[in-house]
Amino acid sequence: MGAALLEIRDLSVQFFTYQGVVRALEGVSLSVAEGEILGLVGETGCGKSVLARAVLRVIAEPPGKITAGRVLFKGRDLLALDRRQMRRIRGNEISMIFQEPMSSLNPVFTIGNQMMEVVTLHQRVGRDEARGICLDMLRQVKMPDPDQVLAKYPHELSGGMLQRAMIAMELSCRPDLLLADEPTTALDVTVQAQVLTILEELTRSRGVAVLFISHDLGVIAQLCDRVAVMYAGKIVETAAVAELFAAPRHPYTRGLLQAIPRIGRGREELAVIPGSVPGLVDPPPGCRFHPRCAHRFAPCDRQVPALFEPAPGHHVACHLYASGESR
């Protein structure tokens, strides 16, 4: 794995709402190496989408605001760039695909029109050349009849086809980093398998790094090199994918892994994490997971746990690991 392509340091994002200040991200640090697929996993409202949007600085402001931190991309702090410089990064060097391909595309323009607009905007090519690039990309995402697809409107394609068109569009400008926000969540399993396979092949062969956001631990396990687990606006654990699934350290990660039904386990009782995800207007003090944690002890409700490294490359934010290697 190469050097850090993206390095997020102590990033905090808040949303100022009538209900109060939502602390969506608090002191999040994360890095993505060149060509690496990093999985970001967490439940609804944990801040994983906000993190991706903060990297591209597409958080609605107001109500949102990046209140602290740095986002270093190839050593440059994206948060310090002006609008014009940032526009040159978006789509060119960092691209993003979203969960709902239908709502990311304009319904009144054809796929070809929208794809070619992206290509001509970011690369100095004429229309014919742009068309050629689009056709080539559509072929690479295994789209049948790419010529016809270009002439179609978004509603004429299925969800899986649209998501493949989105991948083609986003990768056409040869970005170094792709932010993929739950790109297969709205798809059926067999279609999800198609899209994941194509996404992995294309990004690996082109050396594109991916920040892959998902709530699905199965998808994460199959696709990613490294995994970061988020809970209530904080990263609680990061590790190589094999290590994280084989030896999860944070009680939340363990709970998640035990709570998923698995095909091989039959009808056994599932382990449960009691309670539900806290609101982020008034998150629990100390460790944000402590009200639901079975292992909580004295410092948990008072002190925010630091990041410990119980094994090389394995980071966990939990007081259990304060004194080196405990359980």
């Binding site: 049948p144 398998a193 599932l270």
Partner: protein, 321 residues
Amino acid sequence: MEPIIAARDLVKHFPIRQGFLGRRVMHLKAVDGVSFHVNRGETLGLVGESGCGKTTVGRLLLNLLGLDGGSVHFKGVELSALQGRALREVRRHLQVVFQDPHSSLDPRMLVKKIVGAPLEVNGLARGAEVVRRVKAMLAEVGLNEEHVYRYPHEFSGGQRQRIGIARALITGPEFIVFDEPTSALDVSVQAQILNLAKDLQRRHGYAYLFISHDLSVIRHMSHRIAVMYLGIIVESGGAEELFGEPLHPYTRALIGALPQPDPAVRRRLSTLPGDVPSPVHLPPGCRFHPRCPEAFQICSRSAPGLREVKHGHWAACHLYS
């Protein structure tokens, strides 16, 4: 043993009107000849991708949609033959828990009303007795008695789904349809609801039809499983046999496409070519043949019927005829 619910050749076609004044009528064959039964204390899992008709099947069983063909028997009594009071009397034994706990609870009703209404509608209880039974029911599904005087928005998604379950159980049903009850929930909360549903079944012997697109959830919940594709059941059998030795190529593809939460068994996900065809223009012959990796000549010409390939394990595929 007589099954609690027996469905025979269920058919539901939705008309789609197009053309001038909507005179050209086509039919979306949502459910096209589906049969199964569910026994007491048993869960039948109904799995399939979006648009396969699984939700429509659930609604047909409950008489929430009218049948275009076939019959539903509850303990031997045909539902379509019943009317008025007799139908209402039977219906309280058939209940449903919906997918979205946000839209299936009236935001302007107190929990007391939401959970208690079925008692009043069916004339099972009145006044203070309703409140007493609602409280007992809330305790049964893991909520508190004080929750009686709260509104749905005061609850989390998981708690709301518990309210939905309480509403379904309060009339003392024997058969409950769970229509994707955890699709809108996070995994940590999903586990709570799945455990609750199983626990209630163990204690009361309910028969469940559990509808989901999620194979792992279906495997976890079901004793027997039926796999649907484009309005028909393509395979059914015991959960263990069906996952251990899937017969139909579609079932195999579904299982093979499921990403396992274990990086140690990383493998190439099996992919099917193309998308699910429109249920308005069904392919001739076997409905799965345009995407089937094992299709041969006969598949595009004649539709295979369900056959019992092994004891209790059925498949609708020419490979086994």
